[in-house]
């Protein structure tokens, strides 16, 4: 009996919307190496690790092990947010949370008298990592397209059908998931990462573009960008800064991830795949390149394989004055190292000339005995000046506040 059921079920596998979540736009290509494994030395067993498929219960979150500078406090702001990735704040205080492979959902978290309520407002989406809130609407970017949910905060219980904004993204899974922002110029900024660990330059990938909010008027902002999953605009002058994930398999300690200054004029070439961290010529693609002379240089190196993701300039008044204008950066933590690097929040101070004067650890304790207790993805400032930090490993959102005590 069991046998026949099992066999019948094997034949009758339903390719529902949930399964469609995982399908790439392009038909499968023969004999393809997994994108992240290109360049991997033989015998090396390191591999990317997805988020754990179960959110850690609130009582078991490792908040007691997390460390912040004196006078700061870290607490659990929301739990049971499976695969929590991008964070955006609505005008009415709703915190929108994106997710990736594991959940494929967009959440809305609202504060009900000090308790957080987590609602799923969209699901069965294709790697919906990129979100932005602007003038009442929630923008959602997948590797394929960008859609818009109008007047979303008034419709959290019955979200409207999304409106298509732009449907010409390449749709690759590798580095295809997005981080999107509306800049001070009112344009939507959209990156497309390299569809590989390391591969030849083409004009569809490895760049940041901006476009009008209806998807028209696309123009290039930066090229030679391997994979950015975090950027922000300096509130002082509107300059664009972005984080970049460096290539894998070169070595345990090189190359570094980086923080990069684009500025306003844009169209700087940051060198991928020819050069890494500004100065290292790629062993395959870098022949004949004078990296430091030919390409824009990073403002800051943020560590080998650190998984440098979300970033925000701090504009609040809750934290001590020295943090105003500084950049908080989430480092997801490495998979491409035998010893974990990153997995924390760091803070970096711009020097006013497109560079960074120093970087300090800010929120640490997510790594214990070379194992993750959490992996920070995005960082977002709340109206009161506190910071929220998403953790896709535990499916949680932490809050850091300052009282001086």
């Amino acid at each position: 009996m069991l046998l026949s059921i099992t066999r019948a079920a094997a034949v009758a596998i339903a390719l529902g919307a949930g399964a469609g979540l995982a399908l790439a736009e392009d038909p499968p290509k023969p004999e393809e190496v997994p994108f992240w494994a290109i360049g991997k030395p033989k015998g090396n067993t390191l591999a990317p690790v997805p988020s754990f498929p179960i959110a850690t219960p609130a009582a078991q979150l490792p908040v007691a092990k997390l460390k912040v500078p004196p006078g700061f406090k870290v607490e659990v702001w929301a739990s049971d947010v499976l695969d929590a990735r991008g964070l955006r704040l609505g005008d009415k205080g709703t915190v929108f949370v994106s997710s990736l492979f594991v959940a494929g959902k967009i959440y809305a978290v609202t504060d009900k008298g000090g308790k957080r309520e987590v609602k799923t407002i969209a699901e069965k989406l294709f790697l919906p990592n990129g979100i932005e809130f602007y003038k009442g609407a929630l923008y959602v970017a997948t590797p394929k397209d960008i859609t818009r949910y109008d007047d979303i905060e008034a419709k959290l219980d019955s979200p409207p059908a999304p409106v298509m904004v732009y449907d010409k993204l390449p749709g690759d899974v590798p580095h295809g998931w997005k981080y999107i922002r509306v800049g001070p110029d009112g344009k939507l900024y959209v990156p497309t990462g390299a569809p590989c660990n390391i591969c030849a330059r083409d004009d569809k990938h490895m760049k940041i573009v901006r476009m009008n909010l209806d998807g028209s008027g696309e123009e290039i902002v930066a090229t030679g960008v391997r994979n950015t999953v975090g950027f922000d605009f300096d509130p002082k002058n509107g300059d664009l800064w972005y984080t970049n994930n460096g290539r894998d398999w070169l070595s345990e300690d090189l190359p570094n991830d980086s923080l990069n200054h684009v500025g306003k004029t844009g169209n700087k070439d940051f060198g991928y795949p020819y050069c890494h961290q500004g100065t290292i010529a790629d062993p395959e693609y870098g022949w004949g390149k004078n990296c430091a002379a030919e390409f824009a240089q990073p403002a800051l190196l943020t560590g080998p394989h650190a998984g440098t993701l979300g970033m925000r300039f701090y504009t609040g008044t809750m934290f001590p004055a020295k943090y105003r204008g500084a950049i908080f950066i989430a480092r997801h933590g490495s998979w491409n190292r035998t010893k974990i690097f990153g997995g924390d929040i760091v803070v970096a101070w711009p020097d006013g000339k497109g560079g960074i004067s120093k970087m300090e650890p800010f929120l640490t304790g997510f790594v214990d005995n070379n194992q993750y207790l959490g992996r920070p993805v995005d960082v977002m400032q709340m109206k009161d000046g506190s910071l929220l930090i998403s953790d896709d490993h535990a499916g949680a959102i932490y809050r850091v506040s300052y009282s001086g005590k």
Partner: protein, 206 residues
């Protein structure tokens, strides 16, 4: 004299404690054991052995069954009512089952083994599953799995009717024909890698 006696008592206590834990585990595992075997070694056609599978892989599959993203009538029925805590309990149990070869495995055919080994390298199976195909973390152990289950799974991935979080397996197998998939399954089922490498890295994150 005192030292050995203390040690003997400690050993005895440990044995009792281990026995009790093992019995509790066996009771919990009973619903799984009905199809997958008492020690997670399946004697039922088309039903995978669970022995030696990493707990991270096990919880991921239970999660996908529960969410309707992987479909099998029996497993969907088993996983649908499970809580998050249940998923952890069962995947932890599976992660503790020592690897073992499948029951009543047919003898290895040298020609098919040779072809399968070459395909495993050519199609980079070892990139994720390890040179010994023992898996680890979210990646399943292939070495010693039932050949019929492996053949069926490979055919499903090849056809695109089974997908994981991404289409990585579908893309990896895209260029392979039915005979090649069968040779791969034959090789994996008889692969010698029955060490515990997959299990050392398998414990579920908390």
């Amino acid at each position: 004299m005192t030292v050995p006696r203390t040690a003997a008592v400690a050993v005895a206590l440990l044995a009792i404690a281990t026995g009790a834990v093992a019995q509790a585990d066996a009771d919990r595992f009973a619903p799984c054991a009905a199809c997958h075997g008492a020690a997670g070694v399946s004697a039922i056609a088309d039903t995978p052995s669970l022995a030696g599978q990493p707990s991270f892989y096990a919880i991921t599959q239970l999660f996908l069954f529960r969410a309707g993203r992987r479909t099998n009538a029996v497993m969907t029925a088993m996983a649908t009512p499970m809580s998050d805590a249940d998923l952890r309990v069962y995947s932890d149990l599976i992660g503790r089952l020592p690897a073992a070869p499948p029951i009543a495995s047919t003898p290895a055919d040298p020609a098919r083994m040779k072809r399968g080994a070459a395909l495993a390298v050519q199609h980079r199976c070892t990139s994720c599953h390890g040179d010994d195909l023992a898996g680890g973390k979210q990646v399943p152990r292939l070495a010693g799995q039932r050949e019929d289950y492996l053949a069926r799974s490979l055919a499903e991935f090849r056809a695109g009717t089974r997908v994981g979080y991404t289409s990585a397996m579908n893309e990896t197998l895209a260029g392979l024909g039915p005979a090649e998939l069968d040779d791969l399954a034959h090789y994996m089922a008889h692969a010698p890698g029955l060490g515990t490498a997959g299990q050392t890295a398998a414990s579920a994150p908390r």
